[in-house]
Amino acid sequence: MTSSARKTGACSLGSLICSLLWLATTHSASANSSTGAIDIVYENPERTFRNSITETTWTVGPIAATTPLPTQAASNPFTESIGHPVVNCSDSMYRCVQSWSRTIAIPRTGLKPGSKYEKDGVLFDVETCLRGDSERCQVALVSAKCESRTGDGMCSHSRRTRKGQPVRIEYVLYCLYNDDFGVTAMGIANRVASTIQAKRAVATQSVLVGERGLLGE
């Protein structure tokens, strides 16, 4: 697909797929060493761990040293990458992707300061608007909370909260979202962080490598 095709709406089947196709046709990006497919890639700041996301699979694993230390050269450590299927859960209201039993969704109409929304039982909050005005956040810190799971694995938010204490929940995903790039960083915790600084610290566990992130327009 060409960039002109994107502009004419040929990408309506899902932003993730569209982003990947756009990456494949217009940008050099990280190539999966196993399949040759073009990935959206997030790495930790230390560049020792990578999330590679294709249209079908979200793979996580360590990044090996280019040159092993002499003291370690003789060993043959077990290292692995693990892949899970990617599900495009987008609909008329949200661009959405699910993998590793987690959901990330962004409203098609964009983010607004203080807005809250729900997708598949996951509660989303615009925690802070980092660039924008009173109507629109171009850059924001967003949380996605799955408070508990039902028997079929779906997220629900019936869990009681204890006042004054961060309650352990199934997961909370914090991400930084930028209208121009999509999700630029993300991270996971099992307790709601109490300050914006703490939320940003979680959100920067994995940082986008390259131009195009998940759920970009």
């Binding site: 060493s33 196993s34 040759g36 930790n44 020792t48 761990f49 999330n51 699979t57 793979t59 996580v60 694993g61 360590p62 090996a64 060993s75 043959n76 450590p77 077990f78 290292t79 692995e80 990458s81 693990i82 892949g83 899970h84 299927p85 590793w100 039993s101 987690r102 799955c146 694995g153 352990r168 929940i169 199934e170 997961y171 909370v172 991270g187 996971i188 915790a189 099992n190 979680v202 566990q205 994995s206």
Partner: protein, 182 residues
């Protein structure tokens, strides 16, 4: 006997009902793949140890098909894994060797990629002591099989940073694999 694999399943059943399992393809430097039936003698030799460990692991799991082990996750969560289902997944899992990949093994839905290190037994595995290299090799393959057959086991760590999941799951997966291979 023709041990090629025209059906796409990676293991073939012998008359005595044991399985014969093997690498399906090797990725070449130009990104193309050489299929098993076209392997050179050198390529066959390069995957010989992996084929042997893969075959042994599957047959041990089949022999213990009713065996169940518990994978322990965080916060008291557990997932039961069953040897018969695990064997069945490994039998149909496609194994591709990619000599330029630096990881030992990479597993996704239906597909395991094996890097150059994975052509030999690992030098050690977290949570496993005193095992022979052959045993370690079988545990490593079975560990990958758990990811493929029971992907929801990974989800016990859904509230844990991904890198921490990577580190924390090694011991419970290795121990469950070791238990099922008894």
């Amino acid at each position: 006997m023709d041990k090629t694999d025209p059906t796409g399943t990676t293991c073939t059943a012998n008359v005595d009902k044991t399985q014969d399992c093997h690498v399906d393809s090797i990725t070449n430097k130009d990104g193309t793949a050489t299929q098993r039936k076209d392997f050179t003698d050198a390529q066959k030799s390069s995957v010989k140890k992996l084929d042997a460990a893969y075959t042994k692991a599957v047959n041990k799991l089949e022999k213990n098909a009713d065996g169940v082990a518990t994978v322990k996750g965080p916060d008291g969560k557990t997932t039961q894994v069953n040897a018969g289902k695990l064997a069945g997944q490994l039998e149909k899992q496609n194994f591709t060797v990619n000599p330029s990949a630096t990881n030992y093994m990479n597993s996704g839905p239906g597909q395991t990629y094996v890097g150059a290190p994975g052509l030999q037994a690992p030098s050690g595995l977290y949570g496993i002591r005193g095992a022979s290299p052959e045993r370690l090799y079988e545990i490593a393959i079975t560990h990958e099989g758990i990811h493929a057959a029971f992907p929801w086991a990974d989800n016990m760590w859904s509230g844990v940073p991904t890198q921490q999941f990577y580190d924390d799951h090694q011991v419970p997966f290795n121990r469950a694999a070791n238990e099922l291979l008894q």
